[in-house]
Symmetry: C2
Subunit: 303 residues, 2 copies
């Protein structure tokens, strides 16, 4: 089942010919969760063949232009497309001012409801849940209140071993009980343990988005073991001081976070316009955490 990250943009605030500002779509079984929405995000979605109708929730990290200025156009386009489903936007309360302004000024008459949910950027807390995933906030630290998001699949039920069901003539009505963990007792009183009747489901996958932020070693526990971590890596190590001053991270710091949190894979992005050769960022990160990839527009990572 789909659990797939689509990179719409991975540049930073100063635009370049190479990159679009931050925006992503996490595709969880056909439901699209948008993460940040820089200018041009809707165009990038079109280029990648991602339908805006599938976006129900947008998670914004912080209220800087390069993470939110795609919202004005996106909200309007969804209206032109005849949307009726509610659109939920999550983010630090400052983002609510933009949403309020847009709804008052441009979108008083749109065909659907836009609902803003403020997220407290100081907490690691549940901000969204449905049948298949949970989303928790990750407290980040930047020049303005900033928050990351951790998407976790809920554990899946084990698969039934059809041949065992047949062999023990277990009635269909018991299947859900067995999936949920029950054993089966035969007519002669033999207990067939749950484990013999099922094969385990794939382990739940997880995705964490950390941008924009300084390097925060204390996130190690929150991020522990995530399948894929996207971490900003705005600067090369030689500009570590600049990173500190602007409350950004270096590629090395992103990799240290990945290594210390023992994540499966690291994707680095939010590249500064001053970095002309991003392979240097990749080299630096891989020197610490080999399983690192560079984000780029159009990249799809199957998690």
């Amino acid at each position: 089942m789909n659990f797939e990250l689509n990179i719409l943009g991975c540049g930073s605030a100063k635009p370049t010919r190479r990159h679009q500002p931050s925006a992503q779509i996490l595709n969880v079984r056909g439901k699209y969760f948008m993460i940040d929405c820089g200018e041009g995000a809707q165009t990038q979605m079109q280029m990648m063949g991602l339908s805006m109708a599938n976006v129900g929730h947008i998670f914004i990290s912080h209220n800087h232009g390069d993470h939110v200025f795609g919202l004005p156009g996106l909200i309007g386009t969804m209206d032109l497309l005849g949307r009726t489903a509610e659109l939920h936007i999550h983010g630090p309360q400052q983002v609510g001012q933009l949403i309020d302004f847009l709804l008052r000024t441009y979108y008083a008459d749109i065909t659907y409801r836009v609902i803003f949910h403020p997220v407290d950027p100081s907490l690691h807390a549940l901000v969204y849940e449905d049948r298949s995933i949970t989303v928790h906030s990750i407290p980040l630290e930047h020049r303005v209140p900033s928050v990351g998001y951790l998407f976790r699949e809920k554990p899946l039920l084990p698969h039934i071993r059809r041949e065992m069901i047949d062999a023990f003539q277990i009635p269909f009505s018991q299947i859900n009980n067995i999936k949920a963990g029950a054993s089966w007792t035969t007519e002669d009183g033999t207990v067939i343990p749950h484990e013999r009747l099922t094969t385990p489901a794939a382990p739940p996958r997880s995705y964490a988005y950390c941008s924009d932020t300084v390097y925060l070693p204390q996130l190690r526990e929150i991020l522990h073991g995530v399948t894929l971590l996207y971490h900003e890596a705005t600067y090369l190590h030689e500009r570590a001081l600049r990173a500190e001053q602007t409350r950004h991270s270096t590629a090395i710091q992103a990799a240290m976070q990945a290594r210390d949190a023992e994540v499966g894979q690291l994707c680095i992005g939010h590249f500064s316009a001053t970095v002309k050769d991003e392979s240097l960022l990749l080299q630096e990160a891989q020197s610490i955490f080999p399983n690192t990839v560079l984000a780029r527009e159009g990249l799809v990572i199957s998690i």
Copy 2:
């Protein structure tokens, strides 16, 4: 000398893979006049190698998202680029709300001043003037207050015929008088008429931007004889009723305007996402006004 139109975007509100929303740069001898600023305009400028530092004035037609949602990002990028020169934005007063909001919310500390100049969309009036051009508003009619812009070069002074100056030994101090229209009287009292001493300058060029608007035959006089007319042609003739309802024009109507105003050339744009083959728009327009071209992103028209 440059008098050159650069098309950054010529789509309409619903984005497509083919077009960006409305935005243009009129390059008048290296000074860039931006006309409308749809989402992605700054990226398009970068793609076309047009420096944002050269933009001093932005003329907005109306306060619909596909004509203004590039402003939030553009204003921020100019700040990141260290701009100190004032930025002047002209447009119907509704556009001022967006500028106000941006300056209050995102750009309280930027390095330069943004000055908004409301334009009365009901008037044909002078809205800008410098040494080389004038800009007049053109009253349009759309679902919201909308205004076009007419850019006119000021007449250039004639060129001095150097060989005549030498022949009559006219002192250098008189050159400016002669350029301005004076004749020359020789020592023996012969009057050498101005026309013998000069060759006429190239006729002043002009550019008119009409988008978004219904077809307005009464603009014929304002537009009379312009060198290049950009007129919206959102729909094919078969959707003339839809054009009327949404206060847009068809390609035929754009061409009728060009023909009746006896313009030099017509460029049509603001194409509806529903028009899959724009060559049909061109065919329709050329059936009325042969010297018509289709706008496209990246097109540069030397006027």
